[in-house]
Symmetry: C4
């Protein structure tokens, strides 16, 4: 079992990468759950600069959002994380992101469908949580579970996205894929009708097969970029809700 | 009451953040008013680099645009600021910005409506000042008051935007929200019909409730980014009228 | 009369600013003409990095493109410059640019019309040179004169733009305005019908009146940015034909 | 005949330039073939950071993808390269790229046609490889040959592009042109109908005539930029599949 310290390091790294990529803004958060310890590790709330987070900044809570020590609690939308960690054994890592492109599918009346081969991991699409509200209590967490079902991701209307995975590596990779496919859909749409990868083609392609290996390689690549990153979000500019 | 020096510092900081974000260009200006002192503090005119402004560069005038000392006057569009400061007690801070996205709603024939939860602070929309002219005299300032009514912001046709608030923190936050919602509307529109957050949903969401707290946190975040900013607008490039 | 050395300095500075802004690429060129000396100063051809040009790199030619000294000739499209310098006394400065947005109007079947108040200097629109060819001989230069007429700028089909002015300052300012209006038109178009500033409104606005002053201020601003520029076109990336 | 070491240097440089330009991502690869030595030099697979590659990192294989020494093999899509090197004497250099704009033509249902004068080298268009699959075996390599025919480039559905040329210089230049024309098509389309350069106009323009010279100049220009590049893909951010 990964030590809590190692998991804290990975969680901080993952979050800094999301910050470097402009995908988390000041309102997003990421968590990872260890069932053996019944411990949720989650990034701190809005006051924090996601691009500078360190392992020691991670907040440890139980599945009811109660902090293990001290008085600092998790972000107000902690029920997003605890609901998913509790209900789905394949959701040991959960990211709530504000991304520039995937979020647009929570605004435009258009269903997300994969348009690249890598996007085949979203062959079943990405459902929508339709309420115009933050997920700030367990009831809304339960409603979110109904929306997401057994999918990898869910769109929060006029708000952002949630992506789940078995590891932080998988969540990072899946989020990057979702964002890239969302961006390409938007841009291709200005050229004309958009060709999607059908569920049958997705199945044949078998994107799930080597997912862990691809996710690990992407993780290594972005870790090396982040290690040299100057922490200046796109050279100064930063979107409030990217 | 905040000291004039502290207010000058905040005004310079707020303006540098707008410059860092590419939202003010060479023609925008920001002001703050203290009724107790009947003093308007305003950024200097077009000759100045907004990304480098310091507290000492702020121009102090009365409500008729007359400088308190010296010969340097305020920017030629000072009536935007004095009209609003005089007429509305909730407009102690006023920003005239040239932003890349919100300005497009002063060009395209489409009404602005919020598309994100944060955008709910603009539930009543953003009206348009329809004349193709600069606001360079008190009569035009009065016409601007009619256009904006009791709203948070107004679009200036083919020109830019004006955002008001009780504090510079609120004006910064509101401007960032308006710009983000404008950007997302533009981008979502290429995907299909755009879903907006209805006035009823805005009301239920209650974006106004914790506005001061959220604005302060965003202020702190952007202050920390600006403190490390290299003053090179997006690495050299700068839009004349962003 | 400005000394040749000072003019060389200004020409090099103007060109570096265009490079910083991503508006000239590897194929553009800028010239300035002194009738008293019958001397055209022009930036060197494609082999040169426009962001690093110095006064000594400028090529001096006569109105037939013949270099004053040495063997290095002007860029192959020198007839753009000599045709305009010879024919129009208000075209003492000429820029042939490859800009990201204005160039699109040489591709899309849509006439350019101003959409901002500053754009009023282009109230008469921007005509098109319709041939799909480079302007590499005097006959094509004459055809270009017919296309541009007495306007400030002309679009070269599938290629780029040409902007003229009485000074380099005016050419820089006009080019920035044209590019900004082109960009805003493109972006506003995704929101719906685009509102333009009518010729009557342009006339009433009087954008020409203080043009020299505004152009000088913009020049000063961009000179100060360029002086601190790291010469890394948008941090490394560079468009071949921006 | 160029020495293998020099060719390795050029291949590494070319690949770093593609990385600087954001055109190769973590999944692209570039190769060059010397028939005299029956040796393919190719960039290593996904685990590598394309922006940091050096001559020594290049993998040498035969035309069946078998490495000359050691155990490290070529990227899994090596049949793209060997199929083209074997079959076409004008395909001594081959790049498989993931580019932000040209790739969109593998998604949108719209044929690529040149829209600029430089784009005339693609007067015959760019065909599509229609299968939603990676090119991981010789049979798919043969199918790719059928799709590309005698053209300079081919689009891989929902995936990326392949560009061939007689030299790495030509492949770099052609790829930049294709990407620029794709970008301009996308952007011009938001303005209205897009004017293309007809095959007759392309022929008259004669873009092929001085292609080698232009390619060499562009190569020199981008080499000088790359030499000063900080290796931080667009200041930190990096697209997984640009």
């Amino acid at each position: 079992m990964t030590s809590e310290q190692d998991l804290r390091e990975d969680l901080a790294t993952c979050t800094r990468i999301f910050a470097m990529q402009g995908m988390i803004g000041v309102f997003g958060h990421v968590s990872v759950y260890q069932p053996e310890r019944r411990t949720v590790l989650i990034t701190p709330g809005m006051g924090s600069n996601k691009g500078s987070l360190q392992a020691k900044d991670m907040v440890a809570t139980d599945l009811d959002g109660k902090p293990h020590r001290g008085t600092e609690g998790p972000p107000v939308e902690w029920p997003i994380h605890t609901a998913l960690h509790r209900a789905r054994s394949d959701a040991l890592a959960v990211a709530h992101l504000h991304t520039p492109y995937a979020t647009l599918f929570s605004i435009a009346k258009r269903k997300f469908k994969p348009v690249t081969l890598q996007g085949a991991i979203f062959s079943d699409g990405v459902p929508l949580y339709p309420q115009a509200q933050l997920i700030t209590n367990p009831d809304r967490g339960k409603a979110l579970l109904k929306s997401i079902g057994d999918k990898r991701a869910v769109l929060l209307r006029g708000h952002g996205i949630v992506v789940v995975g078995q590891t932080l590596q998988e969540v990072l990779f899946s989020s990057l894929v979702l964002e890239d496919d969302a961006k390409k859909t938007l841009q291709a749409a200005t050229l004309g009708a958009v060709g999607t990868i059908s569920p049958e083609e997705c199945k044949t392609f078998g994107a799930e097969i080597a997912l862990e290996r691809r996710a690990q390689r992407a993780w290594n690549y972005f870790c090396s970029l982040e290690a040299r990153w100057d922490k200046q979000a796109s050279t100064g500019r930063s979107a409030l809700f990217p």
